[in-house]
């Protein structure tokens, strides 16, 4: 029984996958993955390169189609109501998903209008202030540093107040200052009751803020448990065990 068939939308399960498999040509990136993410969880997924973390994230973001198996978002099959689902999730990717040839403000207003956000200009201004970019709103995004791009990317993803926020390696390339700001923003997201799924290499960043930790390897989820009680050292040990064990 797929999530979409299990009756009226269950308000608690925000994202689910059943036997989710994704192949690229003949390479299996996701191998019959099962997953349930409940509202309000902060799930961090760790894993080595090629583990399938980004593939899983992008499939949940509806950017990738499953090769077989199914996913459901907010209890609905994304193939049935794609617009509705897309308006409720936000992706913060490496590359910012921003147009270098437009100003920060114009970028946010563009996306705001695409998502039918009421008063996009006002919301853009508020978000730019929230991420600390209020002095650079008219500058072309092309002129932004990596840290500023990341912050603007977060603002972009939040324009339409998504209930589910997906983050793909958000700490990559950030300096201390920007990383600190990101940590603060993630804390706020989590505090607002949004569901967050974050994919990262960096064990210490994921650990502090998550409610649930997952380790993936070889296209499969090898570890999945609440984050309570996990220390950096024990996570590292577990990570090594899982990844070496999967490779054996």
């Amino acid at each position: 029984m797929t999530p979409a068939e299990s009756g009226p939308a269950d308000p608690d399960t925000v994202a689910a996958a059943r036997s989710l498999t994704r192949r690229f040509g003949h390479h299996v990136a996701l191998d019959a993955v099962d997953l349930d993410v409940r509202a309000g969880e902060f799930l961090t997924i760790f894993g080595p390169n090629g583990a399938g973390k980004t593939t899983l994230l992008r499939t949940l973001a509806t950017l990738l189609r499953p090769t077989s198996g199914s996913i459901s978002l907010f209890g609905i099959d994304p193939r049935r109501e794609p617009e509705w689902i897309r308006s409720r999730l936000g992706l913060i990717a490496h590359s910012g998903l921003l147009y270098g040839g437009m100003s920060a403000r114009d970028n946010l207003i563009f996306y705001g209008r695409m998502y039918s956000v009421p008063d996009p200009a006002g919301r853009a201004a508020r978000l730019l202030t929230a991420v600390g970019l209020q002095d650079r709103t008219a500058d072309l995004v092309r002129t932004y540093s990596r840290g500023m791009l990341q912050r603007l990317g977060i603002a972009r993803a939040l324009m339409h107040e998504p209930e589910l926020v997906l983050l793909d390696e958000p700490y990559t390339g950030l300096d201390q200052h920007a990383a600190r700001m990101l940590r603060g923003l993630l804390g706020t997201l989590s505090g607002e009751g949004r569901t967050v799924i974050m994919v990262t290499h960096q064990l210490e960043e994921g650990l502090e803020i998550s409610s649930r930790l997952m380790i993936m390897a070889r296209g499969r989820i090898e570890h999945d448990a609440p984050a309570a009680g996990m220390t950096r050292a024990s996570l590292e040990r577990l990570y090594h065990d899982v990844v070496d064990g999967a490779a054996a």
Binding site: F24, G25, H26, H27, G50, L203, R218, Y239, D244, A247
Partner: protein
């Protein structure tokens, strides 16, 4: 005598039979048509013996159209079902169709030269065939330059549909542009053909039909085997990588 072809191992019986019979029938029909073209069909009044090339030129043109139509259908089927077999059928049919189109383009000048005194002329039918050739050459190039196999299949399917939709439009536009093909009257559906000519023409069509089917019967299983090979390579590479991989923690 054993015919060259895909490995015997796991072909279903009907396929093995088809791979044997279809080329034989095509070959037999080709011989029969050759005989008919030179010894049976009446001699054409104005052009003489050179006209006999028509029995190899025109039916190829009709068959290549069929091949591209098959690709059109297979492309739609692929986009709806996403089953690899449709992608392979579409691809194989374009290759067969390109072979047939090339035959048309190569036999045309050999006919044109003695009759019109020139190898090539910008008249409607030849130009149409040339444009058709270019459209589907584009299809094959598109496949070659797209690395990801799923993307390749999807892009090729869209091209197979769009290209075929273009075919009738190209046909009419080229004909309006250039006036008529002087031989059209004789070629149109055998209306102006003498009975002996009509029979050989039909023989030509049957020859190319069986040639097309033989090519497909050989090419499609080949495509599936290539697919299987790639899958095996990918999984063995994955296993080797698994043994070598060490965990890395930042």
């Amino acid at each position: 005598m054993s015919l060259p072809g895909p490995a015997r191992a796991d072909r279903p019986g009907w396929l093995a039979a088809a791979q044997m019979l279809l080329p034989l029938i095509a070959g037999g029909m080709a011989i029969a048509t050759l005989y008919g073209a030179f010894f049976y069909a009446a001699r054409e009044k104005t052009m003489g013996d050179v006209q006999r090339i028509f029995y190899f030129h025109a039916p190829a043109g009709i068959m290549c159209f069929l091949a591209f139509f098959v690709t059109f259908l297979a492309s739609i089927a692929y986009l709806r079902t996403r089953r690899r077999i449709w992608d392979i059928v579409g691809h194989s049919s374009v290759e067969a169709g390109m072979l047939l189109t090339s035959i048309v383009l190569l036999t045309g000048p050999f006919w044109a030269r003695p009759v019109w005194g020139t190898w090539w002329t910008w008249e409607a039918r030849l130009v149409w065939t040339l444009v058709l050739w270019m459209i589907y050459a584009g299809y094959l190039l598109l496949r070659r330059y797209t690395d990801d196999p799923d993307q390749q299949a999807r892009f090729a399917a869209v091209m197979g549909i769009v290209g075929f939709l273009d075919v009738p439009i190209v046909y009419y536009s080229v004909h309006w542009w250039r006036g008529h093909h002087p031989l059209v009257l004789k070629v149109s559906g055998g209306g102006g053909l003498e009975p002996t000519m009509r029979i050989v023409f039909l023989g030509g069509i049957i020859t190319y039909l069986f040639l097309y089917m033989a090519l497909m019967a050989l090419r499609v299983p080949l495509g599936r085997m290539e697919d299987d090979l790639r899958r095996l390579e990918a999984s063995s590479r994955a296993r080797a990588r698994g043994r070598r991989d060490m965990a890395r923690v930042t």
